[in-house]
């Protein structure tokens, strides 16, 4: 039903329905030594990964963490079994990197733990580029969500991931992802109605 659940087809045809070269074909070319394939993959997925990092509260090191995500992924392509899309796998790696950095920081004496307010600040910064008042209110509504709700809402609405893909990325179940999404949607509606 969803046209982005086509990882198997992509492997067979080498291109997606939009006519772009598929991720699977690009991965094959990269493994054969074609550096342009890696560049194409980065250009295709860097922006969604950066947005996801921002939604997780990353502020100053977004480019660095996106780059680390690709380096990790390209360095372990042998472990990528194709059971999820490359995009889902990249999201999963990025999320793990963010959590690892957060844990590493929390172990340091001078660490500044990422609080709820930090993420709100991220969305406050977003306000600057959101001209429309309604969109500004919506951004404020999203900022009131719990971190888990916001993560699921971002992946479902912002990136168009299925519940199954969200479950893979967030290390949870499809059912839990669905519940978090609907709770988030209800909270957003209540904020806007209030």
């Amino acid at each position: 039903m969803r046209t982005n659940d086509v990882s198997q087809d992509e492997c067979m045809t080498g291109s997606d329905p939009g006519g772009q070269e598929s991720d699977a074909a690009l991965v094959e070319r990269w493994q054969a030594g074609d550096e342009r394939a890696a560049t194409t993959l980065v250009e295709r997925h860097a922006a969604p990964l950066a947005r996801f990092a921002a939604s997780l509260g990353v502020r100053d090191e977004i480019e660095e963490i996106v780059q680390d995500t690709f380096v990790r992924a390209f360095g372990s392509l042998g472990q990528f079994r194709g059971e999820s899309t490359l995009r889902t796998w990249l999201f999963t790696i990025l999320r793990r990197l963010v959590l690892d950095r957060r844990r590493a920081r929390s172990r340091r004496p001078v660490a500044v733990p990422i609080e709820e307010g930090d993420v709100v600040t991220e969305f406050d910064a977003l306000d600057a580029v959101v001209a429309d008042e309604a969109e500004r209110r919506l951004a404020a509504a999203i900022a009131t969500l719990s971190p888990t709700q916001r993560e699921v809402f971002t992946l479902r609405v912002g990136e168009g991931l299925s519940y199954r893909e969200i479950a893979t990325v967030a290390g949870t179940t499809e059912g839990a992802a669905r519940v978090h999404y609907h709770n988030a949607m209800r909270a957003v509606k209540e904020f806007l109605d209030g």
Binding site: M1, R2, T3, N4, E35, A38, T39, V42, E43, A46, A47, A50, R51, A54, S55, I62, E63, V66, Q67, F70, V71, F74, G75, L126, V129, V130, D132, A134, E135, L138, A139, I142, F153, T154, R156, V157, G158, E159, G160, S162, R178, Y181, M185, R186, V188, K189, L192, D193
Partner: protein
């Protein structure tokens, strides 16, 4: 803002807004939304949320791509030889352990034959061929750098099997059952 009772359609609204539905599903959702004000409102909310969640990020994808390619290619070049070195180093340590055991056995053999000596030249003549033979397949000690040599020496020093002192005389344990009990 309320919720439509048609759960199936509501579940598909985010995918409809993202444009990831196939043609049949898209037509089904569009037909429902045309007659449902609640779903139209939710769809408008989703479209607005997509815009809010997809701000123009000022990231330099070309720079990221260059960094990724450089790091990955360099990593592949750097890791491959290090694996060889690691394997080689393990072989050296294993060979050194075997050599030590061989030297110990050779020394024990000399001692057993009653040719016990403190003369370092004699001991070296007995043990060094065994050590050299054991290390020969991995290139010998000359191939090791200072750190590897120090680690090897530390390993040898910490081996419990290495005799710290000359062994005590062997006391016969055979007892002649016909002899009188030893007082």
């Amino acid at each position: 803002m309320g919720d439509c009772d048609n759960v199936t359609i509501r579940e598909l609204l985010p995918d409809y807004a993202a444009g990831t539905l196939d043609r049949d599903a898209r037509s089904r959702v569009a037909a429902h939304v045309a007659g449902c004000a609640l779903c139209r409102d939710e769809l408008a909310l989703l479209a607005m949320a997509r815009r809010a969640l997809q701000p123009a990020m000022s990231i330099d994808t070309a720079r990221i791509a260059r960094g990724v390619v450089a790091a990955t290619v360099t990593g592949q070049r750097r890791h491959a030889p290090s694996r060889v070195r690691a394997t080689r180093w393990s072989a050296v340590r294993l060979a050194a352990s075997i050599a030590l055991a061989a030297a110990g056995l050779a020394t024990f053999g000399v001692w057993q034959k009653g040719r016990v000596t403190d003369d370092p030249d004699t001991l070296a003549a007995v043990t060094m061929p065994a050590v050299a033979a054991a290390l020969a397949p991995v290139g010998g000690l000359a191939e090791l750098d200072e750190n590897q040599l120090n680690t090897l020496l530390d390993d040898i020093a910490s081996l419990e099997a290495a005799p710290a002192a000359e062994p005590a005389d062997i006391v016969p344990t055979f007892v002649d059952p016909t002899a009188e009990e030893i007082q």
